[in-house]
């Protein structure tokens, strides 16, 4: 792995160098450099910033991180990853598999069903897509040009992205089987930084499912190094298209993940997105859904289970910019030990976005006596004909539920485990990926019963 530190001063060469070695077109090199320029001006967030509330961002010294290069080593078959195996077992034969394995084999693998490839479906590493489909990639990129609205981490990714993938689905192509992508993050004695960038671009009336897994091979014993995983997911739901996405972060205590998910929904587009936070030193995710055309609807759920001293921070933004759209957010968090979480949800309804329906619910179960959850809803509603609701709860497991189960022979621990599992099952039951509720349910159970 070629190495280069993440300090501001040398990074400009690093950016140019990345573009050069990938053989990127000039527009992309310029885009990287433009992002870098703004990055330099942009302040480093602190735990006192609203958006970063209680996230220990201050302790992160970016100059100590080594950025990893794109994996050039192609694997003949998918590197073995436990989570990929278990996903495929439960979800069935995938439409394509993508693995970036920084942790064990240092290699990359991607494959796509040949029939789908013939229909014009693209599922490949982003770096490869830039080379093979430059025009298409350019068009897709233009939607996400760096702006001063981007925060420091987003800009950092836009300048330095070095992994990730493109999933492109042409018009009218309907794919039942899920695509599975996985990143096995580098962990070790030194601090690493990886910048995955993922595009899911769908044309009109298409249908697709992506399951994305982030994990690492740390056994939590060698905690010298910290890995920064700074990712961007950009999802475009075409007119009448249906996109189903599930992201699973199951990381060790060595990984600090910053994820930004941006989705744009066009006319009558439907998005069903689930994010599962099942481990990590700190996970910070900003999930923004923008309803840009009438009839669009998004359904977003979060399943977060913390233990030890893990910290989770989720910001959701439901943005309605036109009339007659619907968004629904359902976030559930359970915290063991001294783990903590902050959920901040904003609903933005523009003046013209009449007949918006926007709902937000955040429920937090405190399992450890020292666990802590904050829930901060915010509404910015300028239209007058809207249906909006939000609700939040924070508290321990209900005593009457415990007593009921105790009376049926389950001890306190068994009763609590069953209740927590049920708490998540209610959310998981709404995932529109066959087998996914089972799969994530098992991952959740594994951590509950640990």
């Amino acid at each position: 792995m070629a190495e280069s530190k993440l300090a501001n001063t040398i990074a400009k060469e690093r950016v140019a160098d990345l573009a050069q070695r990938n053989g990127e077109p000039t527009w992309l090199k310029d885009a990287r450099l433009a992002a870098w320029e703004i990055y330099l001006q942009s302040p480093m967030p602190t735990a006192r910033d609203d958006d970063w509330r209680k996230t220990e961002i201050d302790n992160i010294d970016l100059s100590t991180f080594i950025t990893t290069d794109p994996l050039t080593n192609k694997a003949a078959k998918a590197p073995t990853m436990e989570l990929v195996q278990s996903a495929i077992e439960k979800l069935g034969e995938p439409a394509g598999i993508f693995v970036d394995d920084y942790s064990v084999s240092q290699s990359q693998f991607s494959s796509v069903n040949t029939d789908l490839a013939k229909q014009g479906v693209i599922f490949m590493p982003l770096i490869e897509a830039i080379e093979k489909h430059p025009e298409l990639v350019k068009k897709i990129f233009e939607q996400g040009t760096a702006s001063s609205d981007d925060d420091k981490f987003t800009l950092m990714n836009k300048a330095l992205f070095n992994s990730g993938l493109l999933l492109y689905v042409p018009k009218n192509v309907v794919i039942e089987a899920p695509f599975v992508s996985a990143v096995n993050l580098p962990v070790g004695k030194t601090n690493h930084a990886v910048f995955p960038r993922v595009f899911v671009a769908t044309e009109a009336n298409s249908q697709v499912t992506l399951v994305s897994i982030f994990s690492d091979a740390s056994d939590n014993t060698d905690v010298n190094g910290t890995t920064l995983s700074n990712s961007i997911f950009e999802i475009t739901v075409g007119a009448g298209a249906k996109v189903t996405v599930m992201t699973v972060d199951k990381l060790s205590k060595q990984v600090f993940a910053v994820n930004r998910v941006r989705t744009h929904l066009h006319r009558d587009g439907v998005l069903n997105l689930t994010t599962a936070g099942l481990g990590g030193k700190q996970i910070k995710s900003v999930i923004e859904t923008v309803m840009v055309e009438q009839g669009a609807s998004s359904d977003i759920r979060g399943v977060v289970l913390g233990d030890g001293s893990e910290h989770y921070s989720y910001n959701t933004i439901q943005k309605h910019t036109c009339p007659d759209t619907t968004s629904n957010i359902n976030f559930r968090v359970a915290l063991k030990d001294t783990s903590s979480s902050v959920y901040q949800g904003i609903v933005v309804v523009d003046k013209i976005a009449q007949r918006t329906a926007a709902f937000q619910s955040n429920k937090n179960l405190l399992l450890g006596t020292e666990a802590r959850a904050d829930s901060i809803p915010r509404l910015e509603i300028l239209a007058d004909d809207v249906k909006c609701s939000h609700g939040a709860t924070v508290g321990p497991v209900d005593k009457e539920q415990l007593f009921y189960l105790n009376c049926r022979g389950l001890n306190l621990k068994e009763a609590e485990e069953l209740i927590v599992r049920g708490f998540f099952v209610q959310i998981l039951d709404g995932i529109e990926i066959k087998g996914a509720a089972d799969w994530v349910g098992d991952l959740v159970a594994e951590k509950i019963y640990k």
């Binding site: 009376c407 389950l410 306190l412 049920g422």
Partner: protein, 288 residues
């Protein structure tokens, strides 16, 4: 030494055999420092059916919670002996494993947990072994048919969005699967229409025939048309104020609860004596 020990343990075994299934002695229970039960005495032998009748707020549910060990209900004095063993310090799940079970007046919803998963987990826990899936299914299906519980019930979340009647059916289905030695039924009859009342009563009778002792808590007489108790106790202000045979229930129906406190010590006491030859049931009216 050795022979002495042996004889002592034999003596204990014998005394366990003759000990009543449940013996409540001068039980006082408080909730949040407010005394609710004020000296309950009640003895139930294996297989007997007892009814406790009393107005709303008289403390009937408090008794059932205290018997199962609800953490908010504090026993301040008195005894709860189950098969001769004090259960007051035991956790609810320990009591359940010993064969005590409560059908709740207000069953609690456990969203996200399916009835089938819940039944399997709880029945395995109480029976102390993992019943093979097939065997479990067979047993469950047979009981469901008897209790008029539809198949689709199994995939629903426990008590979540259930009607009052559905909840009560599920309580009886659970107890029928758990096969306790002591079934405490707290107002299982309320919220049931007449057909449901008949099926549920049938379920209770089947349990009773299989030698489950039943403590039937109600404030209506109507269930006693279908489940015939050998003993009826009147509960008032945190204690049993009268005990008798099933005719006491009819009397109550006719004359109302006031009658009990006002009159007829003799009448009720003689009813008690007639009905209650084996069991040293409750304090007769006015005995205190």
């Amino acid at each position: 030494m050795t022979s002495k020990n042996t004889s002592k343990s034999t003596a204990e075994n014998t005394s366990e055999k003759v000990a009543p299934l449940l013996q409540i002695v001068d039980l006082h229970v408080s909730v949040e420092d407010k005394e609710i039960l004020k000296g309950v005495n009640l003895t139930i032998n294996a297989g007997e059916i007892h009814a406790i009748m009393g107005r709303n707020g008289s403390g009937k549910s408090t008794l059932s919670y205290a018997l199962m060990g609800h953490p908010r209900y504090k026993v301040t004095s008195g005894k709860m002996l189950y098969k001769g063993q004090e259960v007051g310090e035991m956790s609810p799940d320990q009591r359940a494993k010993l064969g005590m079970a409560l059908a709740f007046q207000y069953p609690v919803a456990i969203p996200g947990v399916s009835v089938s998963n819940f039944l399997r987990k709880t029945v395995n826990a109480v029976r102390g072994r993992d019943i093979p899936v097939k065997e479990f299914r067979l047993e469950l299906k047979a009981l469901m048919a008897k209790l008029g519980v539809k198949d689709e019930f199994l995939s629903r979340y426990v008590n979540d969005g259930f009607s009052g009647g559905e909840k009560k059916r599920l309580e009886i289905l659970q107890l029928s699967m758990l096969k306790p030695l002591l079934a405490i039924l707290d107002e299982t009859d309320s919220g049931l229409d007449i057909d449901a009342l008949k099926t549920v009563s049938e379920g209770i009778n089947v349990m009773a025939q299989a030698d489950t002792a039943v403590l039937l808590i109600t404030h209506y007489q109507r269930m006693l048309n279908y489940v015939q108790p050998q003993f009826v106790h009147v509960f008032q202000d945190g204690k049993i104020v009268a005990s008798g045979g099933k005719e006491l229930a009819l009397e109550l129906e006719d004359r109302g609860y006031e009658w009990v406190t006002q009159e007829s010590v003799d009448e009720s006491a003689s009813a008690q004596a007639k009905a209650n030859s084996s069991s040293a049931a409750a304090t007769p009216v006015g005995a205190k």
